[in-house]
């Protein structure tokens, strides 16, 4: 677990990552033009939603060193609150989404306040329990949620008269949301708060002895990550216009944890790789659906044992290796080195 070591040696690591983010997202802008059909565009939307989910989980797992097993549950809470408000009560989506985010924020606060007071695995267990309870509620409150058959009749998002009811339109909404979330996380990481979060995951006693309110910060991060998950859930609901309980079970939460680890636990770009795996692997394994879980389980084990930095770390090392090889060949190019002071 660690923070993109290779790039921290420079004095403007944040700027470097931000530029890379901008380039990637600019390229990504053209995805709908290249996508062959509506289904492929839908995949692009899911990628963005999954990215926000995994990036927010990485905030807790990678930067705070705690396991949350309720991320699927918060995802679902966002989807259902916004979905139910829309389908049963005709509430417009923007208001529904705001309500979903606030409700989930409160719920996550209720869990985090007691659970984070204690050292160790208690957060994992409390979140597990909470997700399980949520799952039961999603299934049993049939009148509200539609029960095991799911909730249908969710209306698309209408903002200032503009309706996000086609795949392409929604894609750009998702594209923008994911960009905002990733940029926000990047800025946060390279700030006073971000350093405090990284320090507390490395060494809580050291951090608190320097004035970091470790408990308060952990609660804050947990709530923030839960609200981002809820936001993603609301987007999910208003895109698919349908929500079903099995999407938000504790098993999904477990899978999301796997994706964080496989992508690169605690690494900024880990979320990108995690989202790619989570979105694309099931597509490739569509014919062998049963093998999908086998692959996930095995890759989790392999990554944790041999590549703890995940796919992001592997890529980083590959790039560093390539750069080391290329540099002597370009010996006339100015040397890039850490700035001092």
């Amino acid at each position: 677990m660690g923070c993109y070591q290779a790039s921290r040696g420079e004095s403007d690591a944040r700027g470097k990552h931000m530029r890379l983010l901008a380039v990637l997202w600019a390229l990504f802008l053209f995805y709908p033009l290249l996508a062959s059909n509506s289904y492929a565009i839908g995949l692009g939307v899911m990628f963005c939603i999954n990215l926000m989910l995994i990036a927010s989980l990485n905030l807790i797992m990678g930067y705070c060193g705690q396991i949350s097993l309720c991320h699927g549950g918060f995802f679902g809470l966002g989807a259902y609150v916004s979905g139910v408000l829309s389908a049963k009560y005709g509430v417009s989506a923007p208001i529904g989404i705001a309500a979903a985010v606030m409700l989930t924020g409160c719920a996550s606060l209720l869990i985090a306040l007691p659970a984070l007071r204690l050292r160790g695995h208690y957060l994992a267990m409390a979140t597990l329990g909470f997700n399980a309870i949520l799952s039961v509620l999603f299934v049993e409150l049939v009148g509200l949620t539609g029960g095991p058959n799911g909730l249908s009749g969710i209306e698309p998002i209408v903002l200032a008269g503009f309706s996000f009811d086609t795949d392409v339109r929604f894609f750009y909404l998702a594209w923008l949301s994911a960009l905002v979330v990733m940029a926000a996380i990047l800025n946060l990481t390279y700030s006073r708060i971000g350093r405090a979060v990284v320090s507390l995951s490395g060494n809580e006693i050291g951090a608190s002895s320097l004035g970091v309110n470790t408990y308060g910060l952990k609660v804050q991060i947990f709530v923030v990550s839960a609200t981002v998950a809820a936001f993603s859930g609301s987007l999910f609901a208003h895109f698919n216009l349908f929500a079903s309980p099995e999407t938000f079970s504790f098993f999904t939460s477990v899978l999301l944890v796997v994706m964080v680890a496989v992508g690169g636990w605690g690494k900024y770009w880990g979320a990108l790789f995690g989202a790619l795996v989570f979105t694309l692997v099931p597509e490739y394994l569509r014919a062998f659906h049963d093998v999908e879980l086998l692959v996930f389980g095995l890759s989790m084990i392999v990554v944790l044992m041999f590549f703890p930095d995940g796919l992001a770390g592997m890529t980083q090392r590959a790039l560093a290796f390539a750069r080391a090889r290329i540099r002597p060949m370009l010996s006339t190019a100015p040397k890039e080195g850490p700035n001092h002071g």
């Binding site: 320090s199 050291g206 002895s209």
Partner: protein, 259 residues
Amino acid sequence: MASERFLSVSDVSVRFGGLAALSSFSFDMREGAIHGLIGPNGAGKSTLFNVIAGLLQPSAGEVFFRGRSIQRDPRHRRVHLGIARTFQNLQIFRDLTVLENVMVGCHSRFRCGFWSSIARPPHQRREEQQIREIAMQKLEQTRLQSMAHVLAGNLSFGQAKILEIARALAADPKLLMLDEPVAGVPHAEVGHMMDVIKGINAAGVSVLLVEHNMNFVMKLCDDIVVLNYGRKISEGSTGQVKADPAVLQAYLGEEPVDA
């Protein structure tokens, strides 16, 4: 009056089950001094240190700092009050660079919160710049500036010990607590550490340190308090304590009957 002194430990007792690590311990420290805390192994020095720093709650007694009781203040609050500490076993943040470690030391002095960190308005950027400058200045003060962008996990033990001091200094403390600053440090670097601490003290920071290296303590400290078996056995200026037979006895054991 206890509460008027700079640092005052008043009748503090710490019990672990049946074992009394500290028994009704009291001592005072004056502002501006370098104060040593010494005693044989197991005397209770670390326990006392941790009580003052907030890592341990005493079973009885109170600690006063600059006129008020800090008993109920959690350790991160004590930093805001002006107490910063280092650790014998090192608690550096291995995944952050040297500069970033020291920047964390500034945490208590600034306020930009969540939303400012995300949106980065001008005042947040100014704050970041200030933090960076303060951190760099502390590194220069402790002569570590050339290692600024090295990952803290890659430092040598001696360098890491100095990093801890630079980091604690970044919190702008009134009282700097050093936990065995030269334990495990190669002999050649002990002198450097002494100079660093003298420099810090000259700049107006009071220092309380725990150490086993007698030579170091006697040369550096203005005042000393000696513990054994959780009780105070001597207190005073360095000269006074040096000459106190009780101290000698504690370290060397009972004197032989026929000397």
